[in-house]
Amino acid sequence: MSAPRSLLAPARYLSREESESVAKRALGFAKADQTRITIDSGGQGNTRFAVNQISTAGDNYNAVVTILSSFGTRSGSVTTNRLDDEGLRRAVQSAEELARLAPEDPEAMPELGPQRYAESTGWSDATAALDPTGRAEMVRRVTSASLSAGLQSTGYLESEAGATAVANSKGLFAYSRQTGAAMTTTVRTADGTGSGWAGAAANDVSQIDAAALAARALEKARRSAKPVAVEPGRYTVVLEPTAVGNLVQLLAFALNARNADEGRSFFSKQGGGTKIGEKVLDERVTLVSDPASPLAPSSTFTGEGLPVERTTWIENGVVKNLAYDRYWAQKQGTRPVPLGGSLLMSGGDQSIEELIASTERGILVTRFWYIRPVDPRTILYTGLTRDGTFLIENGKVTRAVKNLRFNESPVFMLNNLVGMGQPVRVSASEDGGVSRGVVVPPIKTRDFNFTSLSDAI
């Protein structure tokens, strides 16, 4: 193992050389026409806190090898975390056995030959070095602030450090190391009538300021106490970046070219084909993914070893690209476009204060929650506001309001755009874990569809 290991250090992963050696051993056992080896190794550390103290924590290490064996167009896959010769040999044999039993696959694609990849910049030594004591220190910055304010903090800090390697029998080899960290906290008032949230995500944990998160969540908890009801309906909303990220990332799920060609997607064109070239969002909206994003760097290759490059999905509101797997790209006579890398949205030059100041009546939203698909034809989702929802009247935040359920689509939301601020990286996953980077601005949009009121705090 490469990294130095104290009793507490979570950063274990396979180095490039170790990964290569595992791949070579596995390929050495292979008798199939083609074999692909994918190796994911790494450690995850996490610390939870609740009611102002640490509740549970965990540190784990795992290394997982996936063997994909093919005979002609028949293939089978086996995953194991037993990396000794015996374990690998058995995994290869089992994958080959499955492949022989599998039917012919008319969509099978040959393995890629060697590729060139940009170096990934997604690694941080600080994150890899974070141990339970360091995590407890960060947590204490939140719990002690909350305790002295007479509030109740709950939250979660997660860090990961690991490596991915892809190798195949045609000589392809790809390797990259990534780290990630995310910290979120929900602070509630002692009487349970107020709740405030703050969160952050970064590859480098030293970019997460736990004290600043605590201050934001504490302030929101206080201000959100004793909310009043407003009538559900269509509102102008100012969405903080996390709320924007919660919804904009849903667009990425729908970018599948094949579904569009098959007539079962928002991106299907009536009468056939896709909406590539059509304007579907406000012209200020550009959406790209980029593994080299300085705010959210990520791996530069896919699970089959295809290079991931900067891709523009939407440019000035117009659909530029959809994601094509290798088979569908070949069939449609285009090049494969993987859906990799972080998701980045364009922004504007207004501050969130300015977006609020220009609003006569509206709702300010901290984040959304329990967001689930309702209708894929319009990318319509439902979910609720949570942990800091406020009324804006005559350019000022005047009071806390009860949470609201929406039935809305990022498509409508980004068509009704009024203004935008500076994009920032957000913790956009509902579970607060380390996930794909999302960099989005705060926005103001009109006619956002709230359909019912919630008593939840």
Partner: protein, 545 residues
């Protein structure tokens, strides 16, 4: 909550490694096939060397200063076979072997886990868990105290699977799925079909410093089919998922019993019918809910809010808290629903997903009433949590003991409170689905679970479904689409005025019950009967793009 099937792609390799451990919510369409094993000796939980390693870890934890420790060693296998139309998209087997050690030091928990099941590594990890507990101990306010539990020196339990799915030839599985696809595609208008088989076998060895040593073998099986119909001009598309076949804690016999090919024709016909269904008019309706739909409403609106950690604020940052709180104001007092409403927690129903002999605290689960005659009666608990309710159990004259609701999704994750099977018990009258429809003047009948979302205290929920039927004067008069109902939990259950009897009791359930940070997937069943709810708010979810 139930995880979205489209949770965002994890991109770091550590996450991918972790995801390899937990294949329960893996999407069948995931780019890289993840999950089991078809040949070769997987270590058996009964293997004496595993017990030795378990004891060695416990000794190391004790010597390092733990007042309590437990260890879980797991050898898990999963298999995924997934297809679309005439094509097998992937066949993947996954095996994962590893162990986790949990320690209690000065009232603070520590947990560490590793895939290297060697004598040296179990000692290192046990010490690591103790060192971590010491780091966690520094800001301790309320130390953990465990409720007493009987010692189980030699426990053995196995899911009631008649056919081990890993012994069934692959060709048979492939043939079965492709036959279902073919049947679906014969229906005019059905353009796409996906089908999938998922199997899990987990051999778990559990030991704790109280002296318990438990070996269990868990099976889970899920066959599923999804048919999509597309309008000729691409102006609409509609899908039908096979929600009348639910995941079970059974073996391959569950796949055979599901008769996928036979049912696929009907699922395809229903998908096509949805294209020409009438968009629903918004308003209040009496809802008649089929068990294949209702189980998810029970999951979200009864099972989650009655988790004690939520009620006490421990899950506030993710899953949320609960409207069923604080305990002293709701236990024995909160009127959850009508007097004929009884809801049971258990981990013993035959073939249910949460069934086990002992939980991940080493406790034999109890069958207990969460709602008794319409009134909230008890929370779901673990050994850590039961003492929080000592006053309530004293009042009832029953001992303070865990209900057996501790669970971890894999060896790499720490165990915590997860729901058992939570089931709505049948009514006394021998009523079935058709009886409820016949008794309804103006309503909507809903079959199958669909879209779902609920707030963080479990008040406001919205549910869709697979199929919606308009009821007029006791008869189904046609199909509706774009239907979702919105509810406030206590009103919704108190608006229930009819329920089916024993004959109409069905087990539904999910593999992807999500909770905790890091989020873990739990597998649970929810038994229920058809019910009727008066005057529920229905919205139309159709919009023009």
């Amino acid at each position: 909550m139930v995880h979205s099937r489209r949770d965002f792609l994890k991109t770091t390799s550590a996450a991918a490694a972790a995801a390899g451990l937990s294949t329960l919510n893996a999407s069948p369409a995931a780019a890289s096939p993840a999950p089991p094993y078809s040949a070769g000796p997987s270590p058996s939980a009964a293997d004496p060397t595993l017990k030795e390693l378990a004891l060695r870890a416990l000794d190391a934890a004790r010597s390092a200063g733990a007042e309590y420790a437990d260890v879980r060693i797991s050898a898990g296998r999963t298999q995924n076979v997934f297809t679309r139309e005439a094509r097998v998209q992937g066949i993947s087997d996954n095996e994962s072997l590893g162990f986790g050690v949990r320690t209690l030091v000065g009232g603070a928990w520590g947990f560490a886990a590793s895939a290297d099941l060697t004598p040296d590594e179990v000692v290192r990890v046990a010490r690591q868990a103790v060192a971590q507990a010491r780091a966690n101990q520094k800001a301790l306010v309320r130390p953990v105290v465990l409720a007493p539990a009987p010692v189980v020196p030699n426990g053995v339990w196995r899911s009631p699977a008649r056919i081990d799915p890993f012994t069934v030839p692959l060709a048979e599985k492939v043939e079965l799925l492709l036959a279902a696809n073919q049947a679906a595609l014969k229906v005019k208008g059905a353009r796409f079909v996906n089908s999938r088989l998922f199997f899990l076998r987990d051999e778990k060895t559990y030991a704790n410093t109280d002296g318990s040593m438990i070996v269990q073998t868990i099976f889970r099986t899920q066959p599923s089919v999804n048919v999509t119909a597309v309008a000729a001009d691409n102006s609409d598309f509609q899908s039908r998922q096979s929600t009348d076949v639910q995941p079970m804690g059974l073996g391959y016999e569950h796949v055979l019993d599901a008769r996928l090919a036979e049912n696929a024709t009907r699922w395809a016909e229903e998908a096509v019918q949805k294209l020409s269904a009438k968009p629903v008019d918004v308003g209040q309706y009496d809802l008649v809910l089929h068990p294949s739909h209702l189980w998810l409403t029970i999951h979200e609106a009864i099972a989650h809010p009655t988790e004690l950690d939520r009620a006490m604020g421990y899950e506030a940052n993710y899953a949320g808290t609960s409207f069923v709180a604080p305990p002293e104001k709701v236990l024995g007092q909160l009127k959850y629903g009508p007097e004929f409403m009884n809801v049971q927690g258990d981990r013993s129903q035959e073939g249910s997903l949460a069934a086990c002999g002992w939980d991940d605290d080493g406790v034999a689960p109890e069958t207990f009433l969460i709602i008794k005659n319409g009134v909230f009666n008890d929370y779901q608990t673990t050994r850590e949590q039961a003492p929080w309710l000592d006053w309530w159990y004293a009042k009832q004259g029953i001992p303070v003991r865990s209900h057996g609701c501790s669970y971890a999704q894999s060896w790499a994750d720490v165990q915590f409170q997860r729901m058992p099977n939570v089931s709505l018990l049948p009514g006394e009258q021998d009523l079935v689905w058709d009886d409820l429809i016949a008794a309804t003047d103006r309503g909507i009948a809903i079959v199958g679970e669909g879209s779902f979302s609920i707030d963080q205290q479990r008040y406001n929920a919205q549910f869709g479904g697979q199929l919606f039927y308009e009821i007029r004067n006791g008869k189904v008069v046609g199909m509706l689409k774009d239907v979702a109902y919105q509810m406030r939990t206590p009103q919704f259950w108190n608006a229930m005025d009819m329920m089916g009897g024993k004959r109409s009791y069905v087990l539904g359930g999910a593999f992807n019950d999500g909770k905790g940070q890091p989020s873990q997937s739990n597998a649970v069943s929810h038994g229920c009967v058809p019910t009727r709810h008066r005057g529920i708010n229905v919205i139309n979810t159709g919009r023009k793009a």
